[in-house]
């Protein structure tokens, strides 16, 4: 554990030195916003993303971080990339301002894992659960196609847009998100119109061959000889009732450490 913490610190130091004096502020080590230890980006791309992230942090008081590594387990003694993200966020004292508002996107290339951890009230207000899902949709498709720069760009652009929505007083959430085109708008009218037309068409074809003769049964003309119901056996099946998570209320789910976010594969 100790060894891994030292490695983590060395990584941070290397990253700071690679950025020269810009990474130093006062007496405290200031982490860069973009750290590409996996070699996914060119220097120009790193510089551009760094500048954009810095601008976002200053505009909205929420720092967006990018960390690309070959294997996150080298830096944290855990198999959970989300937990690793929270640990790194705390250890490196990431975030903007005293409240440490920010979000960290980690890409681990060994098994193509990703995690997004968000922290701070400003961040949680902007990055609701619904907003986070929207954010994943924007960058995951790029990463799945090995479009690293495009994915990070989408991450920053969408993050910036979500922060802007929150700043304007309407965070992107279940009830405030602009709704996409609902296919039911087309399907329901077509089905209803078809049903009505079928009924109207049916009125035009009334001649049908009869297959039964119920009208011609003699009154009381049914004699039942055998009415037998024999129980043969019983079968029992058991099914565990799935408890559905209620995500319909909107807002942001925050864990006991004050983080929100998600992890997965890309």
């Amino acid at each position: 554990m100790k060894k891994k913490s030292i490695l983590s610190l060395l990584l941070a130091l290397c990253l700071v030195l690679s950025l020269g004096g810009a990474a130093l502020a006062s007496n405290q080590i200031t982490m860069p916003y973009v750290t590409d230890a996996a070699g996914l980006l060119t220097n120009e791309q790193v510089m551009a993303l760094e500048a954009q992230a810095k601008q976002i942090a200053e505009n909205y008081g929420c720092a967006p971080y990018i960390l690309a590594v070959n294997d996150f387990r080298v830096y944290e003694d855990t198999y959970d990339i989300y937990e690793a993200g929270m640990n790194l966020y705390e250890r490196w004292e990431l975030g903007y301002g005293p409240e440490k508002n920010g979000l960290l996107l980690i890409l681990s290339m060994a098994e193509r894992d990703y995690a997004l951890v968000t922290y701070g009230s400003v961040t949680h207000r902007a990055f609701t659960d619904y907003g986070q899902d929207y954010l994943y949709e924007q960058f995951l498709d790029n990463f799945r196609n090995d479009d690293w720069a495009g994915g990070f760009q989408d991450y920053l652009n969408t993050g910036s847009w979500l922060l802007e929505q929150a700043k304007n007083g309407t965070p992107y959430d279940v009830n405030t998100a602009p709704r996409g085109f609902n296919p039911l708008i087309i399907v329901i009218p077509l089905v209803l119109a078809l049903a009505v037309c079928l009924v109207l068409t049916g009125q035009m074809k009334t001649a049908k061959r009869k297959t039964e003769a119920g009208d011609y049964m003699v009154p009381n003309g049914v004699e039942m000889r055998v009415v037998q119901d024999i129980f043969t056996h019983r079968t029992v099946t058991r099914q565990v009732i799935q408890q559905n998570e209620n995500k319909g209320g909107g807002g942001t789910t925050v864990n006991s450490r004050g983080f929100s976010g998600k992890s997965g594969k890309f």
Partner: protein, 369 residues
């Protein structure tokens, strides 16, 4: 050679008599007299017998002269009207040719209602006749109403087809009595569901169910005329048999009448199929209280009973529209009317668009804004 024709003449003024369904009497449209069927039957029994004798004598004479019945000579060429029958109108003397299965008709020149004699003598005579209860006016009105509610009917159709050409026809039917012995086994289940903790427990009880019994039928109707579409005749059922009368030609004047050209044996299959399906349904309906019920064994044995031959009252209109033939039929007793109608594509599209487009707009405002 033309066959002698019987028509019922008014004893008071000798005008033609029509059977009027509303009054149930034979009425004279000239002097307004009305007579009971039995009264006229009695008066004309002798006359009809004489006419048949005369027809037989005429046939013998024709044979001796080397002429075949129903064969004419025109401009030196021979014409054999196969399947046709010739007769002369007793009112105006016109020489008429009709289908050999036509038993009653009216003269197109003078409108005189006539019975073509001999039509019920060389084949089985009908056992019963169900007299018309609804008159032509009611049939025309019913057809107009039938057109009214139809949103997809082309406007020109109802205007162009001649409702007044609707004709009352006595359609020959076989009425089959019989029994169906059914023995059916089913695999049935009852399902109970309870919840215990976070488990849903489903208990299924399996039963072997058997039903066996006899279903009695009386008068399953099958139309005996190949000219009548089965679908149309089936669809105007049921007929109320309590009004069946012993057959008499006195009910026929004023209407067309056909005799059967499909015998009772040929038509029996359709009655059997209907009896079999109904017997299975009766057995199935007696199995109650189960969640599922699937037949595993079905055995139906049919016992055919008496077959009655009856003439049923049907108002019919056959009309052409854009090369297609449309036939309407109305039960002359109950007024049940059926018939396939042409569909206007323009109206169909109009309805489809008229419903779907505004609804899309409303839903877009509600869901997609």
């Amino acid at each position: 050679m033309a066959t002698q024709v019987t028509n019922y003449q008014c004893p008071a003024c000798t005008g033609p008599l029509h059977y009027a369904g509303a009054s149930g009497k034979l009425e004279c449209e000239y002097c307004g007299s009305a007579y009971d069927v039995a009264e006229i039957e009695k008066l004309y029994a002798e006359k009809e017998a004489a006419a048949e004798t005369q027809a037989a004598a005429a046939a013998v004479e024709a044979e001796e002269l080397g002429e075949d019945q129903g064969e004419y000579t025109a401009n030196g060429e021979s014409w054999s009207p196969e399947g046709m029958k010739a007769y002369s109108c007793p009112s105006c003397g016109a020489e008429l040719v009709c289908d050999e299965t036509t038993a009653a008709t009216s003269c197109p020149y003078c409108g005189n209602p006539s019975i073509v004699p001999g039509q019920f003598t060389d084949m089985r005579k009908p056992d019963y006749v169900l007299p018309f209860r609804l008159d032509k006016k009611a049939a025309e009105e019913a057809l107009r109403k039938y057109y009214k509610g139809k949103k997809l009917l082309p406007r020109a159709f109802s205007a162009e087809n001649h409702i007044q050409e609707i004709k009352g026809v006595y359609v020959p039917f076989w009425l089959y009595d019989g029994e169906a012995d059914a023995d059916v086994s089913y695999a049935a289940t009852r399902v109970f569901t309870t919840t215990r903790g976070n488990e849903r427990i489903t208990t299924t009880e399996h039963y072997q169910v058997r039903r066996s019994g006899t279903v009695h039928f009386e008068g399953i109707p099958v139309d005996a005329s190949s000219k009548m579409p089965d679908e149309h005749m089936d669809s105007i059922e049921p007929f109320d048999y309590s009004d069946l009368k012993p057959f008499s030609t006195a009910y026929l004047p004023g209407y067309l009448a056909d005799k059967y050209d499909e015998d009772a044996e040929k038509c029996a299959d359709r009655a059997d199929q209907r009896a079999r399906a109904t017997a299975l349904n009766v057995m199935s309906n007696s199995v109650k209280g189960y969640a599922t019920c699937i037949p595993t064994h079905e055995n139906v044995r049919l016992r055919r009973g008496r077959v009655k031959y009856a003439l049923m009252p049907v108002w019919m209109l056959s009309t052409q529209w854009k090369g297609q033939n449309f036939l309407f039929a109305m039960n002359g007793q109950t007024g049940k009317l059926i018939g396939d109608l042409p569909i206007s594509r323009g109206r169909l599209l109009g309805w489809f668009a008229g419903i779907s487009l505004p609804l899309m707009a409303v839903l877009y405002l509600l869901l997609g804004g």
